[in-house]
Point group: C2
Chain length 203, copies 2
DNA sequence: TCGCCACTAGACCGACCGGTCTACTAATGG
DNA sequence: CCATTAGTAGACCGGTCGGTCTAGTGGCGA
């Protein structure tokens, strides 16, 4: 690498702008030209860093998944809280995050991964697989939490893997509904019920 | 109307083709020309019936919402079954429906309304409102079922409106996750847990 | 029978799409 | 100090987008 200073690095700028735009609109609705303008970059530079729009999207997914893993998801789950309270913490975090963008831009953007998953799953298997991996990681976090809750006796024994998937599904569903209503408050109303979800162990 | 025979009516054909394409791919990914070719119709005819692509999408939403209301949703909820078992019936219906298209086309298409909601909610408020109305109707079905379950004593008193929303959210979330995994079986695994969802009455 | 009009046919439009290409700049390693 | 090369600039490409427009066509009511 020639440029080692990454602060306003071109690639980073493209990535940041693309993330915002994909999140707030959709993959298909955002053009490369538009991204370039917003990032104050020329087409030539863009295609120097990313072979195609699709590869940019893949990079955006990885980028945000990384931020997630080291950001508020890690916070929510690795906290010094009783396991079941961590779920409340993470619902809260989701709520405040969505509320912030709703207040700022007037509309809820929902979950980037969920948005992309529904838009792209039937069109691009590689992207689908990537999104799938992100969801798997999230499910693992839920499952670890549930395992701990069972271990400490806070929760009666259950199928933690399936229940973890169910919780992730519920979270995505709540965000979907809230986005459709354009009302982040729905997350606060419905969110806490995530703790009631149970899938028993199969015998 | 001049043409009263609606069987292979042009408008109907366009609507049917558009529904399939929007459902299996996405709004942005499907072009009008493509729709016209598949429906064996010329652009002129298309724009005779629909003022714009967006209006077509609106019509598709209404069309499918109608089919739903009189189709399997009505079946699932108006059945002569104990209320809580109706939920199982409707999970089953969702599973078989998704499995059918997965087997046929190799990929799960998910829920047309959920797909469109995430793609279009931030771009078109009218479409968002329309989708929202569809979800509201679905929630009402859930709520009526829950009310009945409470009335018959099958379920302890709870906030039926909020719980109904939660159930709808969960269903959409499960379908989202299953679509991302491209695995309809997930609906069968996670679906039944919909009955464990509970939001208590606020005091 | 004639005129009206729902409907069809398809050429055409400007804008924009994702992507390519060549020319240039400038920092770096030898 | 020069050669190399990462990165920038932006004109350009064919194709497709949603949408328009004009010229029919054909069946039905008067």
């Amino acid at each position: 690498m020639k440029r080692m200073n990454a602060e306003t690095d071109t690639r980073t700028r493209i990535l940041a702008v693309a993330r915002e735009m994909f999140h707030g609109r959709s993959y298909a609705d955002v053009g490369i030209q538009e991204i370039c303008e917003a990032a104050r970059v020329q087409k030539g530079s863009f295609y120097h860093f990313f072979p195609s729009k699709r590869d940019l999207a893949l990079a955006v997914i990885d980028d945000m998944a990384g931020d997630w893993a080291h950001g508020f998801v890690a916070e929510a789950f690795d906290l010094n809280l009783p396991p079941m309270e961590r779920l409340d913490y993470m619902i809260d975090a989701a709520y405040y995050w969505q509320k912030a963008s709703a207040d700022l831009e007037g509309r809820m953007r929902g979950c980037l991964f969920g948005n992309l998953a529904l838009e792209m799953s039937t069109r691009d298997d590689v992207m689908r697989a990537r999104l799938n991996a992100v969801f798997d990681k999230a499910r693992d976090k839920f499952q670890a939490t549930l395992d701990e809750a069972v271990r400490t006796g806070a929760l009666a024994a259950l199928n933690t893997e399936a229940t973890a998937s169910a919780m992730l599904a519920y979270l995505e569903g709540v965000i979907l509904l809230a986005k459709t209503r354009n009302d982040p408050e729905l997350i606060q109303v419905l969110g806490p019920a995530i703790k009631t979800l149970r899938i028993e162990m199969s015998h």
